[in-house]
């Protein structure tokens, strides 16, 4: 591994502990056991990162987990993509225009090339999109292109409508939509809309997910299962990183192991786990932080009594001191949510803090709803120590207003199945943005058509919210769209389908070896094109 180091981290302690350590170090030196301090110094400069979980696939149409989506986005180009700030920027498409009715998108492509050297044409884009929609592909992400004309009927088994996606020549593509869809470019930036090389897909078949060929800035060098995935620079790509030759993703499931690897200088970027934040705040002055496009919540089963009564749900929100939980358990790594949409995507209307910590008011609302002595309920969680601590705290707060909470822990598979079926009274969950748009939080999580696996796991239904969301999705005017979403969010906030908790703050620490890195707003907004080596070394 290039630049790998076994040298000590800075700031070693002195004193008796130091003397003992020095003794052992000398002992190993004398007995010849000391290992080479640095290996692979002649290797090309690599950016060294860690993945908590191994990707299931690198095929855009099958990538549904975080790791798969992240890596697939580095290997494949889209028509457009997100930059680190979450803005839509050109990727394969040099420029694009949208017809006045918002239904026709015309893209002009750069003369880009795949990793195998072959020119990317508009026909490759059509092939990739058609593959995503094809019912034979059985892609769980086919809905990314659902707004395209006849896409849903093609996915349901009807013949493909050629005029919905038309390659006019090698570098011009026209896509027609069923109706105006304001977030269509955001959808095109998702990993699922990555453009693949047609002949490589045909040749590699089911193995494409492990041997992908895209036109992104990086290409797969090797994949050692359970250990490391190495990407190298795709020299055919229009945008390349001049100083970084490759990226090594090591698969390290344990957070303490990742910390150890960072401390000895084997990783360049470390996502700081919650329990370690205070330590790194003092140990790493250059600690990066960014509010994630993620909302953490306790979903309440809106179809199950007594939680089907909005007064009860409001009481639950009033009874939990979220600010204190953020301060004490998260060490400040979160921002209390007032509504489900992160403020970076949808500004909160002023004066809408409906649920300050107020147990008295909570008790009053419970009495009004017919539960003066409270009731008992279950909150389900998947196995996670932090979630356990948080829910124990919630349990304590709710007990103060007479609600007896039983915490039920299930592993992920069983938890997900139960929650999607609407079994638990309540559940602790979070939602990551697929793309930086308020629609991605409101439509899947609260539209009544998405109840269950569609994202609306609390079973919330409000016809006024439904029509506002539908109106906003078709609205091309940005200002009107924002106002519509704000109204929908306010209604949802008042109806309290969840106990609103927080938007997490992500902390990352970066080695002195690299510069130019920033935490992206959205996970696929980082392509590591701006990162370079500072010339300084940790070792």
């Amino acid at each position: 591994m290039g630049g790998e180091s076994l040298a000590p981290p800075p700031g070693r302690r002195s004193g008796v502990g130091g003397a003992v350590i020095d003794f052992w170090r000398s002992f190993f030196l004398l007995t010849g056991c000391l290992l080479p301090a640095c290996t692979g110094s002649g290797d090309p400069p690599l950016l060294r990162l860690a993945l908590q979980t191994e990707p299931a696939t690198l095929d855009p149409v099958a990538a549904v987990d975080f790791s798969s989506g992240t890596l697939s986005s580095l290997i494949h180009s889209n028509l457009v993509r997100f930059d680190a700030a979450g803005r839509i920027v050109p990727d394969l498409a040099r420029e694009w225009s949208i017809s006045e009715d918002g239904r026709r998108y015309r893209f002009s492509l750069f003369p880009a090339r795949f990793a195998n050297g072959r020119r990317v044409t508009a026909r490759d884009v059509v092939f990739s999109f058609r593959r995503l929609l094809d019912p034979a592909t059985v892609s769980p992400r086919w809905w990314v292109l659902e707004p395209v004309k006849s896409a849903a009927s093609f996915h349901a088994g009807s013949p493909f409508s050629d005029d919905s996606m038309l390659a006019l020549d090698d570098s011009t593509l026209v896509i027609t939509l069923e109706g105006p869809t304001a977030h269509f470019l955001s959808l095109l930036s998702m990993p699922a809309a990555g453009v693949v090389c047609a002949e490589e897909v045909r040749e590699r078949g089911a193995d494409y997910g492990r041997r992908p060929c895209g036109s992104g800035p990086w290409k797969l060098s090797f994949w050692h299962a359970g250990e490391e995935i190495r990407l190298e620079k795709n020299s055919h790509c229009r945008e390349i990183n001049a100083s970084v030759e490759g990226i090594s993703f090591r698969i390290l499931p344990e957070s303490m192991t990742r910390i150890a690897e960072f401390e000895v200088g084997n990783l360049d970027i470390l996502e700081v786990p919650g329990a370690e934040i205070n330590h790194w705040r003092t140990a790493a002055p250059g600690l990066l932080q960014a509010e994630e496009l993620r909302v953490v919540y306790i979903g309440l089963n809106n179809r199950k009594p007594p939680l089907d009564d909005p007064r009860v749900r409001r009481a639950l929100n009033l009874a939990v001191d979220v600010e204190t939980i953020i301060a004490r358990i998260l060490f400040g790594a979160g921002r209390r949510s007032r509504g489900p949409v992160p403020p970076a995507l949808l500004p909160w209307p002023t004066g809408t803090d409906l649920y300050p910590y107020d147990p008295e008011e909570a008790r009053r609302l419970l009495s009004e709803a017919g539960f003066p002595h409270g009731f008992s309920m279950e909150i389900w969680q998947r196995e996670n120590p932090e979630a356990g601590r948080i829910l124990e705290s919630v349990q304590g707060y709710l007990a103060r207003v007479g609600i007896e909470v039983k915490i039920v822990t299930r592993e992920w598979g069983a938890f997900k199945q139960a929650v999607d079926r609407g079994t638990p009274d309540a559940f602790y969950l979070d939602w990551f943005a697929d793309y930086p748009d308020a629609e991605n939080f409101l439509q899947p999580l609260f539209h009544s058509s998405n109840r269950g696996g569609g994202g609306n796991r609390s079973g919330y239904a409000n016809s006024r919210v439904d029509s506002l969301l539908e109106e906003a999705a078709a609205q091309v005017n940005a200002g009107t769209r924002t106002r519509l979403y704000q109204r929908a969010e306010e209604l949802i906030y008042r109806d309290a389908p969840w106990i609103f908790l927080w938007f997490p703050i992500r902390y990352e620490v970066v080695s002195e070896r690299i510069t130019g890195y920033r935490i992206p707003l959205i996970f696929n907004g980082r392509r590591f094109l701006e990162v370079s080596f500072s010339g300084r070394s940790d070792h």
Binding site: R25, L252, N450
Partner: protein, 312 residues
């Protein structure tokens, strides 16, 4: 002996059939749907059904079971639902790594455990015996997770001697810490058992006779005491080694070791049926083979067992 081995090999068939059946039933009894792991957080019912059809999960259970039996009889363990890779390929890739770690850990445990046990039983330095036994008590009690992190902290972060984690393409430097961590509990148990074995056997009549006829102490120790004291050690080795071979989830997770343990746990969490079934079947075969080898080694170490085995 050959008859004994043949009988055990024939016994493998009903054992494996039982394992396949129980695993298969368990997969469908426990809550959790394998298709949910494939569709992400936003899906529709049609996609769920299409995925079920694609994976053959829409078929009646008995048909699925017979199909699986048919494939297994052709040595085909199927493909992972999640990655689409053949299960045999994944096992073949990961098992050598698990085997390397298991063998190294066992070697450390056996050599260190017997040495520590023998030293503890040797009455010349009582303080040494007491220290060894205290250490072995710590070894039995210490949680693997904590020990692993402690070793990383000391040898990687503080002393900068060994890499904290990874496989390193098979380099021995990466093997040391996980092997020590994995071996620790076995080493401690073997030390305790060896000590009591040495003390018990040391007082037997045949040892006294051997000494009385003027046999050298090293021969008494090596030929008479050690051989007899080894029988329970072999039992421990058999049991522990069998479990090491099926992967050591905690050790592999702490040290980022790409072995079978993590692979199987991930498969269980994602309800990746073919991987779970294939891996369990593979582990069952391994267990049976290791136990057979242990039984055979009893006869080599102690001729009385061989005679009894022959008589039965």
């Amino acid at each position: 002996m050959i008859k004994f081995v043949l009988r055990r090999i024939i016994l493998l068939v009903p054992i494996l059939l039982g394992v396949v059946t129980v695993t298969f039933i368990l997969m469908y009894v426990i809550p959790g749907d394998p298709v949910l792991a494939l569709v992400g957080e936003r899906y529709d019912e049609e996609t769920l059904e299409a995925k079920r059809r694609e994976l053959g999960l829409d078929q009646p259970l008995f048909k699925q079971y017979l199909g699986y039996l048919g494939r297994v009889s052709r040595m085909d363990l199927g493909r992972s639902f999640i990655t689409g890779r053949p299960v045999t390929e994944s096992i073949a890739e990961r098992f050598p790594r698990t085997l390397t770690l298991a063998l190294s850990a066992m070697l450390l445990a056996v050599s260190g455990g017997i040495l520590a046990g023998a030293l503890a039983a040797w009455g010349r330095f009582p303080w040494l015996g007491r220290s060894m036994m205290t250490l072995s008590l710590v070894g039995v009690s210490i949680p693997v997770f904590w020990l692993g992190l402690l070793l990383i902290f000391l040898f990687s972060i503080k002393l900068s001697l060994l890499p904290p984690s990874g496989y390193g393409g098979g380099s021995w430097r990466y093997l040391i810490l996980p092997a020590i961590t994995l071996s620790f509990a076995s080493l401690a148990t073997i030390a305790r058992v060896t000590r009591s074995g040495f003390l018990d056997t040391g007082g037997e009549d045949f040892v006294r006779t051997a000494r009385a006829k003027g046999l050298g102490e090293s021969k008494v120790l090596g030929k008479h005491i050690l051989r007899n004291a080894l029988i329970p050690v072999v039992t421990i080795v058999g049991t522990d080694f069998g479990s090491y071979l099926s992967g050591s989830v905690l050790t592999e997770s702490i040290f980022g070791w790409p072995g079978l343990g993590r692979f199987i746990v991930q498969a269980i969490l994602k309800r990746d049926f073919p991987v779970i079934q294939g891996s369990i079947l593979f582990m069952a075969v391994l267990f049976v083979i290791v136990n057979l080898l242990v039984d055979l080694s009893y006869g080599i170490i102690d001729p009385r067992v061989r005679r009894m085995g022959g008589a039965s």
